[in-house]
Amino acid sequence: MFKNFIIITGHYGSGKTNIAVNLAMTLRQSNKNVTIVDMDIVNPYFRMADSKILLERMGIKCIIPEFANTNVDMPALPAEIYSTFNQDGYVIYDVGGDDNGATALSVYKEYFDKCEYDMFCVCNMYRPLTADPLDAVALLRDIEKKSRLKCTGIINNSNIGVETDEKILFNSFEYISEVCRISGLPLIFHSTNLNFFKMQNVTKNIWRLKN
């Protein structure tokens, strides 16, 4: 279904890490090797490192910046990333937000070019700066420019957090069709935390009101 090398990119706060982590867990069910790489050099909060224990328990290999969540406030990417280009199974690259976050990818352009890759752009119509399909596609193009790679598909992750209901999801279908039409890219999937799809929210949520 997917190429072996899957890059997850998109707008800041569009849900990239949640998508990447859930995709890794889903692909792992096929018993293939799955590696997930945290390439976020932008945001020191809500990152993949938070889910490391959960992922490793499922047998998913995690490559995270050596200094993530440590006292060394340095967004350095680990050399280990190079090893992902000659291994079997799926590798998922969880990239930082916007074109700034995508800059980290450009270093690896020659490596990605040599292998078959998918680069999916995550879109959420309820994020104000990408609520207009034209703005969403403009950002997608900026991401392509900075990463020196080409997007191959769109993921619809339109949601408003815990308050998301069917209506919120259904209202996004027209939007995401527009994004696909303007960009000329296929829709890969819709994602939601509604029960009928079973997406697990891995964001730290200690402050969420418990009834």
Binding site: Y12, G13, P44, Y45, F46, D73, N124, Y126, R127, P128, L129, A131, N159, I160, G161, V162, E163, I168, I206, W207, R208, L209, K210, N211
Partner: protein, 355 residues
């Protein structure tokens, strides 16, 4: 626009723009950079100015200048950066200027950490700069509330000519939540006939100043200002009570911690433990009278203060309640958050065998 999904930092920036603020001066520091980033992207779209100053000190003094000319001006930072702004804020208070300062608190002292804290409570409510002065201080607990309080801050700040601060934290700044800007009440900016904004010889010149060499004059200015502070204390107190009617123990907590405490109250109620939550929304003016009323009730046995510091609000609760009932403290610091279960355990420890 309907409901959208935003970070607290983005929401406060958007709310500022919607309030008519067209002058934002910032300087980067984690965890509030999204405010500057959002302003940089969106201010030009409405003909506004987002300027990254050479330092926090420069930024707050630019706010002083903009506010003196009568426009809505705003800056933001996080704890260490706010310390740098304290001199400028004192000057702004001394000049009787309205403005909005957002503090997205992180762990301290010193460089501290980058995770959420509430350890600037003393600074915001007692010591934000030298001199006899007060700031309006608001503490939002949700992203919707950060939007409401942005509008409230600008309005109240202009009404009394007192600078306002939104005292929030790294969690509220970074977390994402649904927010509806249609619910926002946007008022017309107050009359600013005092502003120093050019008059073409059509009126007497306005002078914005905080220097008074003659002590008689300075005393008179300060006393007049404190009359306005008294008005604020009478009219502008904001708080929320949750299940306090029959509560034996009342948690006093604000901002992000109040949210966690609300979950603790719900957990306790499930076990028939009578707990309520008192949440100050304005940290200055402090809701002292409402707390005293609760302390006077026979049913109230105990207060428990919970915040992300080592107990900076405890004295305010003791003073407000005239020490009628014991006041305990449970908090976490350094960027750590308490879980609702931790707070529940503390409640049970206090209520002893009864829980």
């Amino acid at each position: 626009m309907g409901k959208v999904l935003m970070k607290g930092n983005e929401a406060v920036a958007e709310a500022g723009i919607r309030c008519g603020c067209r002058h934002y001066f910032g300087y980067p520091i984690t965890p509030q950079n999204e405010i500057s980033a959002y302003m940089a992207k969106n201010m030009p779209k409405v003909g506004g100015l987002c300027l990254q100053a050479e330092s926090e000190i420069a930024a707050i003094n630019m706010v002083l200048g903009a506010a003196a000319s009568g426009v809505r001006a705003m800056t933001s930072s996080s704890s260490p950066g706010i310390s740098l702004k304290s001199e400028g804020l004192s000057y702004i208070a001394g000049c009787d200027l309205p403005c909005l300062v957002v503090n997205v608190q992180r762990g301290g002292p010193g460089l501290g950490g980058i995770q959420a804290a509430q350890s600037d409570y003393y600074q915001a409510t007692k010591a934000m700069g030298h001199g006899d002065l007060r700031l309006l201080v608001y503490s939002p607990s949700t992203i919707q509330e950060i939007v409401t309080l942005t509008s409230k801050s600008f309005d109240t700040s202009e009404k009394y000519r007192v600078p306002a601060m939104i005292l929030t934290d790294g969690v509220i700044g970074q977390m994402m939540e649904a927010v509806d800007f249609d619910e926002m009440v946007i008022s017309t900016p107050a009359d600013k006939s005092w502003a120093s904004c050019g008059h073409g010889d059509q009126r007497k010149k306005n002078i914005i100043n905080s220097l008074y060499i003659e002590p008689e004059k300075l005393e008179a200015v300060v006393v007049a200002r404190f009359k306005r502070y008294a008005e604020i204390e009478k009219n502008e107190v904001m708080f929320e009570e949750y299940m306090t009617d029959d509560a034996e123990l009342i948690i006093v907590s604000y901002g992000i911690t109040a949210r966690i405490c609300k979950s603790a109250v719900n957990l306790a109620r499930k076990q028939n433990v009578k707990v309520g939550l008192f949440r100050p929304i304005s940290l200055w003016p402090y809701p002292s009278d409402a707390l005293l009323n609760l302390a006077k009730k026979d049913i109230t046995k105990h207060f428990l203060v919970s915040e992300l510091n080592m107990g900076q609000m405890v004295d305010d609760v003791k003073v407000s309640t005239h020490c009628l009932k014991p006041v305990s403290f449970y908090g976490r610091t350094g960027g750590m958050l308490p879980a609702p279960e931790e707070i529940l355990a503390e409640i049970k420890k206090i209520l002893g065998g009864k829980a």
